[in-house]
Symmetry: C3
Subunit: 155 residues, 3 copies
């Protein structure tokens, strides 16, 4: 059996890579230093509109937050492909930070950030297993429910 | 005088390493890339129960927060030992991020995160001196008062 | 035309480097590992006093927050110079994290963090283009409106 490319794997899972999001300010989508690629924070934009807006524990359910985290991760993958030329250049997902916009009393950040983590493991398998941080913040840019930051090891 | 191992030093200080905490979601406790070990966010769990719950400036005092940060750091050391085989493989504590669950108006995050920083310096001496970030977040997983994230340089 | 040094460029822009801020707790201003310099979180202190205090969306305007982010970045540059001996040793600004103390409903974090990003690009040009994360947190040490964290690649 021929091994699927990571991008084919994404398609098989029913996802397609969006256009890489444009930074909404004075910075670049990613910076590579040696074998590490530092990816800028991404929010769940689809065609430049937020998939969901608001906070977990108030306007946004855990299920919607999970989906939003997955969409943010797809945006990150799009940046990674754009930067490296191909997802095949990913050697390991090193680290994921998930910032979850949280209403007072909401402490299920890990369930939300799983939307990104699960996608990474579905696509990259063992190479997708990452260290992770999940925290609840009061507000995110544009009223996003979640923001994802990644560090990737390249081949 | 024979130099104590870092783990003996911990014992001398009256601490013992807990079992490494299990990630509560789809990720791994740490990822090593070259000489850098990225440790996942850890909270002050003792036998899978929070030492303290709630926010600084409300349910949790600075003294309790300091103690919670130290316990979270012990959990991180447990992960580091588990990943590297021994704490002796630590060459330098590079970076510590302390996320402190903070009630409105609480701005003593550094005093809380010192609970982790002081332990690292007590155990590792010069090699324990790290760069640091301390911020106040609205909520943390499971209602934890503090979450600690670390990057370690290995031998 | 002779190329200006980065520090001369700063002066030309009307800025001067402050004394490197002293950590307000048990840690060091920066740690170097190989070609990466990890800079501790810095707040907009001028002569050990906050330029502005309070939250964006409440006491502090976006314009003031922008200025505060720039001043925090100057403090980070001061640490970098102190650590590397000269800003000329900067090969690339790799990553910037901007934590913005935000009142409920404030989602213009990127405009605030631009105060740091714009300065870095004015001073370092292409080498100043960095990956970036901007989030809104509930509180910061000493009541600061913004905290800046950086990773730098050295020559």
């Amino acid at each position: 059996m021929t091994k699927l490319s990571y991008e084919d794997k994404l398609k098989e899972l029913g996802y397609s890579l969006p256009e890489p999001p444009k930074p909404i300010a004075s910075y670049v989508p990613s910076v590579r230093v040696g074998k590490l690629l530092f990816v800028s924070g991404v929010i769940p934009l689809v065609n430049d509109r937020l998939l969901y807006a608001g906070k977990l524990g108030r306007e946004v359910t855990v299920e919607q937050g999970y989906e939003a985290a997955r969409v943010a991760a797809l945006n990150a993958l799009s940046i990674i492909k754009s930067s490296l030329g191909s997802l095949e250049k990913v050697r390991r997902i090193v680290k994921l930070v998930g910032y979850v916009a949280s209403a007072e009393g909401f402490s299920e950040q890990p369930k939300v950030v799983n939307g990104a983590s699960d996608l990474l493991i579905q696509v990259f398998g063992e190479r997708g297993k990452h260290s992770r941080v999940a925290v609840g913040v009061i507000e995110l840019p544009r009223g996003a429910p979640v923001e994802i930051e990644m560090i990737v090891q390249t081949k």
